[in-house]
Symmetry: C2
Subunit: 261 residues, 2 copies
């Protein structure tokens, strides 16, 4: 579901492109599952997108990007595959002044150590602290974006980390669900911490990659077109998806598919 925050950012930045979105709702969330399982699921899902004739695949999930990007890129070549980790890591390194970066993410992303690796590959003097914030996923899907419950959860997860000094001056929202909780997280970490939203940074990276490859489309309409596939319950996809896409989704635009067969 959270990948829709990435789609929202992509559509805003690339209004001439046509997007095909697949939500593996029959098996979500990926965030609590093992690397092997996420790799298998992500491969099935992206093969369906390739069959739809897409020119580029965006892995709009931090967990899948953290544990499955290399196998996906190999399997889908020559179609380019872009994940959300590298753009977020770049933005965090560019933003920090005190070289202390906090990463909040799912259990799976934290365990995969993808952000610390990506950040230290860019600058080896960075101090990266990770916090798995698994409950945030459920809070976001419930639509409790600015609820007291969400602020209390943020306090429990992050309060001690940002009491500082030396507190991080930069935080990476390392799960695509988390941008909708930004206001509640902000209440706990204060106004001085730079928040890196991997949806926004990924959209910028995709725009750059399309331009660099000469693959961009300048002749579309003024509103990006979107098609949706879900592996379970189009009704729930449309209802919960609206939280993350930031606008209503018509259930008639959501096609149910089966990746299991």
């Amino acid at each position: 579901m959270g990948g829709l925050t990435v789609l929202r950012a992509l559509a805003a930045r690339l209004p001439n492109e046509a997007f095909v979105y697949l939500g593996d709702t029959a098996r979500l969330p990926y965030g609590t599952k093992s690397a092997e399982t996420v790799q298998a699921y992500a491969l099935q899902a992206t093969r369906h997108l390739i069959a739809e004739g897409v020119k580029m695949v965006v892995v709009a999930c931090n967990t899948a990007s953290a544990v499955a990007l290399d196998p996906l890129a190999k399997a889908l070549a020559p179609v380019p595959v872009i994940g959300v980790i590298e753009p977020g890591a770049r933005a965090a390194v560019a933003a920090t002044r005190n070289r202390r970066i906090a990463v909040i993410a799912t259990e799976g992303t934290v365990k995969g150590e993808a952000y610390p690796s990506a950040i230290r590959a860019l600058r080896d003097d960075m101090d990266v602290v990770q916090r798995p914030c698994q409950v945030f996923v459920a809070l976001a899907e419930e639509g409790w974006t600015e609820s007291d419950v969400t602020v209390a959860a943020a306090e429990l997860y992050l309060g001690s980390l940002f009491e500082g000094p030396p507190a991080p001056d930069t935080i990476v929202l390392g799960c695509t669900h988390f941008p909708v909780l930004a206001a509640a997280i902000r209440q706990v970490i204060g106004d001085d911490v730079t928040m890196v939203d991997s949806a926004e940074t990924t959209a910028a990276a995709v725009a750059d990659a399309l331009a660099a490859k000469g693959m961009g489309n300048d002749n579309g309409g003024s509103d990006a077109s979107m098609r949706f596939f879900a592996t379970d319950s189009p009704e729930r996809f449309a209802r919960v998806g609206a939280i993350f896409l930031g606008r209503p989704i018509d259930v008639a635009d959501v096609e149910l598919i089966d990746l299991r067969s």
Copy 2:
């Protein structure tokens, strides 16, 4: 994961029996998935248990009991299949004095209307109000059993419902995750509401069914034996499972299986 609260209650009541537990951790949670998907998953899972030679199957999940009990019973006959809904409904009807029963459950269980149907089949003058409490699942798996966050979530879900009169005098914990949150829920609903724990009521129903069929085992040890199967990450199964089983699980006792193939 929540099914382990049922296993805990079963083991306490039936110390002579041997239990084989399967957690479909590669595809959890069932609570947000469609009836069709839950039926397909539950059928695969129970077939694995049948192949292990079990004498009875307990569907230790409210969502699967709500939407898949009949297809499971048909597919697994003559092995008896017991779900968690009917025992909880019976206990609620027996407990209520003002004929107002609250049911808290996952989205899928609420949508399936299994509790209102089961309760009204027993007594047609019951007033049943349901509340999906999806975030409770994540809070329980995080181990935040008595946290302020959980109390705040309980207040948001249940506060207005129990401000009464005419407030329900009975609440069914209609998700196997919820018994570990009982103390936090109690803070919101007060001391006068009867709490029906479907784990306890199901254990009693299983004991009765075994006795009625002459299938009970009186010759085992004093501690019920347990074997565990998980479809993903035995490490996470053992770590998170301990919250629900109420005692440590040795990861070496958890066997990884693949239901997808």
